[in-house]
């Protein structure tokens, strides 16, 4: 485990009440002004939220996954609520890379915030091609590869297969000089081999988790509640599972890890940072509380201030009581 347990309370060099340094490095030379990012698919193309918050205060905006061609997405029903969460089967409803560059990116660039473009492909070549086109454009800070969308029928989930994940990485890494984030799916026995593979093949950071493949049934009709039968579970319900996986990934690689999964409050975000995440992505809660990211950011700042933590990156990976040498799964 990186980081050794330290004494509680204010650290050396930190004075309670002083404005903390919230900057975090997420790999590839990219430093964010704070660790609060948005999770792909929960923040539109960013501009949709400008009525509710100042986007420039965020660490970064990760946009809805971009495919090569426009994709209509899945038929209804696409969404159902579950205890403290929801299952979605949107199926990548994307305007396509050309319309993104022409219409969506200029609107988002008006806000002074790093833009992370999430890339989705139905083939290895498509991942590389979309990455290449986005990298040629001005105004994108990093690329995130969505290899774990659970909702595409007839398409492989690349992220559940080490060989396919390697193929995607080996095709996309040469296609861009931008920082490259590999986003992992939780639908595997052990995330660590996938995290290590990402590190080996040139990813600058690992992000996890994507939504968890899940199902809900309407007992009156005996029908699955989303049209594809299985969808992706997200929201506070998945947070403890996500936290465990983020800790596992962070203990397996040296590159930064970005924690995602059910984060709704500053305390939730702190859990991920302490478990080893360099930054966090806030997802489903954006639907419910449009200003959730800002509330979390303010909570992080207050926490650091109260505890005299001078730099938020100091708390990354400082978890105490976690198993010393995690057992590897299959």
């Amino acid at each position: 485990m990186k980081g050794t347990p330290r004494a509680k309370g204010p650290r050396r060099g930190g004075t309670p009440g002083r404005t903390p340094d919230l900057r975090v490095a997420i790999g590839g030379g990219l430093t964010l002004r704070n660790p609060v990012m948005t999770a792909s698919g929960t923040f539109g193309y960013g501009d949709e939220f400008s009525a509710h918050l100042d986007l420039a205060r965020l660490g970064a905006v990760v946009v809805k996954s971009i495919s090569l061609h426009p994709r209509p997405g899945n038929p209804p029903e696409r969404l159902c609520e579950t205890p403290s969460g929801m299952i979605n089967s949107i199926g990548i409803m994307s305007v396509g890379v050309e319309a993104f560059l022409r219409e969506k990116l200029p609107a988002l660039r008006r806000h002074d915030v790093p833009v992370v473009a999430s890339v989705f492909g139905t083939s290895v070549e498509e991942f590389a091609e979309v990455t290449r086109r986005l990298s040629d454009a001005e105004g994108i800070a990093a690329i995130e590869l969505n290899i774990g969308c659970p909702n595409i029928r007839k398409a492989k989930i690349f992220g559940t297969d080490l060989g396919l994940t390697r193929e995607v990485m080996e095709a996309t890494r040469p296609a861009t000089r931008l920082p490259l984030v590999l986003k992992l799916t939780p639908a595997v026995m052990d995330v660590r081999p996938f995290a290590r593979l990402g590190e080996e093949t040139g990813a600058d950071a690992i992000a996890l988790i994507n939504s968890i493949p899940a199902m809900a049934i309407d007992v009156r009709t005996r029908r699955c509640r989303v049209s594809t039968g299985i969808g992706g579970l997200s929201g506070p319900a998945i947070r403890p599972v996500a936290l465990r996986m983020v800790w596992e990934a962070a203990s397996a690689v040296r590159i930064p890890v970005i924690g995602i999964g059910g984060i709704a409050t500053a305390e939730d975000a702190l859990e991920f940072l302490i478990a080893g995440a360099a930054a966090v992505q806030v997802g489903t809660i954006n639907f419910v509380r449009p200003r959730a990211t800002i509330e979390i950011l303010e909570g992080l700042e207050a926490f650091c201030r109260e505890r005299g933590i001078a730099r938020i990156c100091e708390i990354v990976g400082t978890v105490r009581g976690a198993p010393a040498g995690p057992e590897e799964g299959s």
């Binding site: 038929p75 403290s84 409803m93 509380r289």
Partner: protein, 311 residues
């Protein structure tokens, strides 16, 4: 009715429960108040959230029934049916309790084309979505044609049984002509409100007072039937849909409904060629632009009013 499609930026804020009144078994009128609320147009909705603790996680989309200024605050009324855990918790919310409110959301009903006589048809709690529209149409009519304008607006109210007929007196108080249909014939015409719609269209035609546009809101099968009747009669039809939505402002993409596509084989130029979002493209749609029947019969029959909306 606003002649433009421009609507105000929605506000997310705590709202105080002023009171609740039972209108029918399982159906309530909720009164909320907030310090300020942007101008709300007929057809717009709000997202209402009972808990702050994360379960139930999502807000519920609710049509705005009435808005009024009272003692320096804005009072918003909502009619809802208790159909699941979220709405049950809502029904338990006592005066003074704080709920979270986001709105107003969605695109409003477009005003009727010049000279087109409107007709409103509501099934179950769907009638509540048409109340603000009736207010606006009658205000417009009075301004244009004087006090007899009320006769220009007919409102059809459908329910399963007499006890479940909603908001009849409110529409009558506005000066509208209200006709009722109940499935069991305990009040008004026996049968579905869509049968009453067909009859009313025919009667209007016969009396030389033809309906120009129908605004319908209710369970999916009711709205689909209304659209088919209007299509046959050559009358425009606008419907106000529900959909399972997490956000209400166009980002979760959960509330997509399929559009009528001339050539399904044609390449998709934009996702909006195939699907529209109930929250931001709607909730009001031209019924002829939709690919009806996306909800298979077994699903909609069991879901009843409220469709797949989180309950």
């Amino acid at each position: 009715v606003s002649s433009t499609r421009e609507t105000a930026v929605p506000l997310h804020q705590p709202a105080r429960v002023e009171g609740q009144r039972r209108l029918a078994p399982g159906t309530y009128l909720l009164r909320l108040s907030v310090p300020q609320f942007p101008e709300t147009h007929p057809g717009q909705f709000v997202m209402l959230r009972v808990t702050d603790a994360g379960d139930p996680l999502l807000g519920r989309a609710m049509a705005v029934y009435r808005v009024a200024r009272r003692r320096g605050r804005v009072v918003i009324e909502i009619v809802y049916r208790m159909i699941g855990r979220g709405t049950r918790l809502l029904a338990e919310a006592a005066p003074g309790r704080t709920l979270w409110l986001l709105g107003p959301l969605g695109r409003p009903f477009p005003p009727p084309p010049a000279g087109a006589r409107p007709l409103l048809a509501g099934g179950g709690t769907g009638i509540a979505s048409l109340h603000l529209l009736a207010v606006r149409l009658l205000a417009r009519g009075r301004k244009a044609k004087g006090p007899r304008a009320a006769e220009a607006l007919t409102v059809l109210v459908g329910a399963r049984t007499r006890r479940e007929v909603l908001c009849r007196a409110d529409f009558a108080a506005l000066g509208a002509r209200v006709l009722v249909a109940t499935d069991d014939g305990t009040q008004g015409k026996r049968g579905f409100v869509t049968a009453l719609l067909e009859e009313t269209l025919t009667e209007g035609e016969r009396r030389g007072r033809p309906t120009g546009i129908v605004y319908a809101c209710g369970p999916m099968p009711m709205m689909e039937a209304a659209w088919r009747i209007c299509e046959r009669a050559g009358v425009a039809c606008r419907v106000s849909l529900e959909g399972p939505m997490a956000c209400g402002f166009g980002v979760c993409l959960g509330c997509a409904v399929p559009c009528r596509v001339a050539d399904p084989q044609a390449p998709v130029r934009s996702p909006r060629d195939r699907f529209k979002l109930v929250c931001t493209d709607g909730p009001v749609f031209d019924a002829s632009a939709l690919a009806w029947g996306w909800d298979s019969p077994d699903r909609s029959a069991a879901a009843g009013p409220g469709g797949g909306t989180p309950a």
